[in-house]
């Protein structure tokens, strides 16, 4: 079994690679180049040895949204008519744009899954801190992941509260009203909880600032080499004309 080479890279390197590759992929504007980007992303994903169950769930969620785009774009972009249904016409240009978007989004997402998929959120947070990302943003990310579960339990309790009072949803004013209350309570409850969490943090010596992260170790030379190589490749991929990879 080949060890996972991506796991050997520093968290900072992985985040920088994602950034670099994502910007490059988004700049691609031909179907073949975007297709190659998807292939590269699939290759990276294979290298990262993802957990099949979590991965397929993420991919399915993403494709659902993208397919919607692919289906609707041809009908709203003007151009050479491909199919005509009554007053609506699907254009070749629209299909091309949709396809390009589909490939680029897939390439970026698969790259993210490959490079960050096996990191847990505290690792991502630590790497971001070492990259000098503002601590407030990182804490927001960490708290968000911490409280997703709490919030979903709170939502569940709210639903139970409606149910024990004999509520069953239907198409009527009471349902809209109850749904509004439910959402409102969720917001109120979150606000209260945030205040309590802040109080608890204050009791443990929180003064509004977060301690600065540990001194940052420098990037290993392997990481530097990988970053440099990818940066050069990305540059060529972005250049159009005789010097670029896409003539």
């Amino acid at each position: 079994m080949v060890p996972n080479p991506i796991a050997r890279l520093d968290g900072r390197t992985r985040i920088l690679l994602v950034l670099l590759l994502a910007i490059t992929i988004v700049a691609l504007n031909s179907l073949p180049s975007a297709g190659v980007a998807v292939l590269i992303a699939v290759g990276l994903l294979a290298l990262s040895r993802p957990e099949p169950k979590g991965l397929s769930k993420r991919i399915l969620a993403m494709e659902g949204i993208l397919l919607g785009l692919l289906v609707t774009l041809p009908w709203v972009v003007p151009g050479t008519t491909l199919v005509q249904i009554g007053p609506l016409s699907a254009s070749v240009e629209g299909l091309e744009q949709g396809g390009l978007l589909f490939l680029r989004a897939n390439a970026v997402a698969l790259t993210v899954f490959a490079l960050l998929g096996r990191m847990d959120v505290t690792e991502v947070g630590a790497a971001l801190a070492q990259l000098r990302v503002p601590v407030l943003l990182i804490q927001t990310l960490l708290f968000a992941t911490r409280y997703v579960g709490v919030l979903s339990r709170e939502a569940e309790r709210g639903r139970d509260a409606l149910r024990v009072r004999g509520f069953s949803p239907g198409t009527n004013v009471l349902t809209y009203q109850a749904t509004g209350w439910w959402v409102g309570n969720l917001v109120l409850g979150s606000l209260d909880r945030a205040e309590r969490a802040l109080d608890a943090m204050k009791c443990r010596g929180f003064d509004g600032t977060f301690p600065s992260p540990n001194p940052t170790p420098s990037l290993p030379s392997l990481d530097r080499a990988v970053l440099a190589a990818v940066a050069v490749l990305a540059l060529f991929a972005s250049i159009r004309g005789p010097l670029g990879l896409w003539v």
Partner: protein, 224 residues
């Protein structure tokens, strides 16, 4: 109204669970629990923390589905969500944390919520809510905001919200926890005066005398 006037337990079975296993599949908290609540019967359910008392109440009204065993309510077996909608109108569950129970922004809207789910018009529901609030001595609370009430007030309003549905049975999850002496006495006074079947989950053994309850104990997932 005093507890002496409470109707004697008749043979009518309101709620019943038979050999129920429930909780997480790998570690069910209920492991063969059976319990019957007859019309007018008043039970107290004791058990240590984590014994599954709350789960038992939630199973009876279908918020938790048993892994194994059956739940019967008001004359027939209940298995699906749709079966339990009518059960919850006749068997009112009061949560341990009133904050989990209050759904509407104001007290009157909250207490009227159950009756509106019964199909009453908004005006009828509000009138019924008003009557319930008066019975519990909560006149003047109608337009108060539910999330700004004190802990004791929240408990009383949550109770009012369930009683406004005119249930035949009342299931209460630790109704005295976290209340001051006065609020606790008030809740006990209200419960003592109700002519309903009661199932009270509590740690307070005094309620046996104060509310004329019959004790049951949940231990190791079964009712002793």
């Amino acid at each position: 109204m005093t507890s002496q006037e409470v109707a004697p337990a008749s043979d009518a079975r309101l709620l019943e669970m038979r050999d129920v296993h429930a909780g997480y599949a790998e570690a069910p908290v209920l492991r063969g629990a059976s319990l019957t609540l007859h019309a007018g019967e008043r039970l107290a359910l004791f058990g240590s923390n984590g014994a599954g008392k709350s789960t038992l109440l939630r199973v009876l009204v279908g918020l938790v589905r048993p892994i194994q065993g059956s739940v019967w309510a008001f004359g027939r077996e209940r298995t699906k969500e749709a079966d339990f909608v009518s059960v919850r109108q006749k068997a009112g569950l009061v949560f341990q944390d009133a904050d989990d129970q209050l759904v509407a922004p104001t007290v009157l809207e909250d207490v009227a919520f159950g009756p509106r789910n019964h199909g009453l018009s908004e005006d009828e529901a509000k009138a019924q809510a008003q009557r319930t609030l008066s019975e519990l001595g909560l006149e003047g609370f109608e337009s108060r905001l539910t999330h700004r009430l004190s802990g004791g007030e929240k408990r009383l309003v949550a109770l009012a919200g369930v009683l406004a549905m005119k249930p035949e049975a009342l299931l209460l999850d630790e109704p005295f926890t976290g209340l001051d002496v006065k609020a606790e006495a008030r809740v006990k006074e209200i419960l003592a005066g109700l002519r309903l079947a009661l199932l009270v989950v509590t740690h307070d053994v005094n309620v046996l005398d104060e509310l004329t309850l019959e004790g049951r104990t949940l231990e190791d997932g079964v009712i002793l």
